[in-house]
Symmetry: C2
Subunit: 398 residues, 2 copies
Amino acid sequence: MSKPKGFEKPVGVRDYLPRATKRLRRIERGVLDCMARWGYETIKTPTIEYYDTVGIASSTSDRKLFKLLNNRGQTLVLRSDLTAPIARVASSLLREEPLPLRLSYHANVFRAIEEEAGREAEFFQTGVELIGDRSPEADAEVVALAIASLQAAGVKTFKFALGHVGFLNGLFDEALPGRSEDQKALKERLLHRDYVGFREAAESLGLNREQQEELEGILRLRGGREVCDQAAGLSRHPLALESLRHLCSVWEALDDYGVSEHVLIDLTMIGDFSYYTGMVFEGYAAELGFPVCSGGRYDNLLRQFGRDVPATGFALKTNRILDGVEDPSPEEELPVLIVYDAARRAEALAEAGRLRTEGQAAVTRLANETGESAEAGDGGRYARVLLFTGENAPASRG
Amino acid sequence: MSKPKGFEKPVGVRDYLPRATKRLRRIERGVLDCMARWGYETIKTPTIEYYDTVGIASSTSDRKLFKLLNNRGQTLVLRSDLTAPIARVASSLLREEPLPLRLSYHANVFRAIEEEAGREAEFFQTGVELIGDRSPEADAEVVALAIASLQAAGVKTFKFALGHVGFLNGLFDEALPGRSEDQKALKERLLHRDYVGFREAAESLGLNREQQEELEGILRLRGGREVCDQAAGLSRHPLALESLRHLCSVWEALDDYGVSEHVLIDLTMIGDFSYYTGMVFEGYAAELGFPVCSGGRYDNLLRQFGRDVPATGFALKTNRILDGVEDPSPEEELPVLIVYDAARRAEALAEAGRLRTEGQAAVTRLANETGESAEAGDGGRYARVLLFTGENAPASRG
């Protein structure tokens, strides 16, 4: 392995130059301000956590965790999401706070990557956790807030798909009782949206016609509010039916929020099924073509940190939004350039201070001794040039 | 080593709860906005860098670097400052940009720590780099901006001390020609402000009276503008004299900025002498008692990345400011609580939306079926409570 050159950086990480940083900060500010208006308070957690606590509790697969050793020989991880760290905080420092907790975050997260092109090892997430409320109202609130957050980030056209892990769990238990490996294989196919593979796998299980139709029926459960009723005809399993009632209640609340036009029901959607326990959802931006938001209910996570309370939330995939959303104000506010000679420096610096107080960016520069034009080479960098040189009154050029 | 418990986090890292996060974000925003008005554009660099590039170039001692291995077997580091990463960016992605570059940042940085109480393994820095200008004007600009940045962060009373590595290097070369180990030992004492140890070391070197007085004279070079003249009497070494002229020019420019009342000259101050090449400075807040800002000129760093240009800059120690500065608005803007029953949900959610559009935070909640008072247990959490329950017109309570 040859030594990296001075200007190289590791695979999967990036530099954000001024224009991208400005967009990123605008998204961060807009989204966190939106979340604050919904009563969500921002917290920050460390970049480094124990593998044995947050690492294990996170939904990230072990091989994708970025691990390191401290000098006590303990394994640490770079955080791979904020949900597990916030569960830790809710179970420790915020243990005595009355429920529900409404918390928001904007943070970088890490994934150890294989040698694949274009996979990011470090990226940003902006999201919320609503902790201590198991009602459909709580799930609807986070979906409605996800919609408001995408709008605050500048995404104009998007759709959200809602599913429910409990519906699928109930239906699979009914169609394939006790066959957890077969259930898992089918769920993996749904997770990867491999519907052809799902159908093939269902056919290979040696089921009777009714069971087979029940399983294949799942693939038709995508659409509007009517999907809830269709799905109710597919299963009599109590968990499946209870999950459907919950999901319908979420949809109705979203209708009352006035946002159901953005929402589809997709009961083939399963999310990370080792992690989510109820409603799951994803947001897609028309401009971008891949998910820009994912979330759901994870009622079992906080128990791992010693506080057994339900929770629901989402994370925006901030980098995808950043790379896909246009800059709303392409004309940058350029600074004023103030050029002075030694004798008039105090006067020039006072003028720069005055402009800055007014919110105008100003850059100052001692005039070139050769008498070369002050603006040489500065084309397009400055809004205008103010000269404090010689005996003259300040001249404005540019 | 026992396994860490679920709620534990590694030594040296911290969680920022909502109040601290709000203060941190206010400082970040205030300071970066201030820097933007001085023409500095914010950039972001990755958390992870190659040890062989940024790790080696950073001013952090090797044992304090947080190291990890990637799956190619390369050694990576968690960034320990932003100066080396920005030098890398200035030498690669920004290589074609006209000089000077004015760049700002707000970022978390990492130090592997010994088992010492209270040392932080992760903390924030907010700073600038002015790249491509070797003039005293450039040094004065970063000091004046450091002062403006501390003010923007809410620090009210502070002093800045200016020194110059070149002056000390010249003077030591004159007093101890060729004795680089002895010079280094004396510099170490100055770095740790061990003036008694410095005097003892100077006495043990077997110097003549004149040389000894020259070395001990350094310790008196702390004060106002007059120190420049005193220092000029102490050495005839060309580098020392040239450095003094530069430092006096910086001070005079700071006087023209109208900020010299905040500035002292302290020629015993040496900064990290393997890194800084010219002026060095530190800022102290009266409220805090330890440095809240450090900076200086580092003309040799960018050469390591293949672009041989001079640079100067500073970093605020943002955590120290955070922990020391009072919250300027202790009365938080509390959200309004909106309680509704099922029949009036759409009306209640519309009101919540209206309030949020006006910038008022609002939290919504389905009324408790037991008829329990909606505000029970919410004392102090909400500005007021709006009820959308029963047949009545919306009632305001609280």
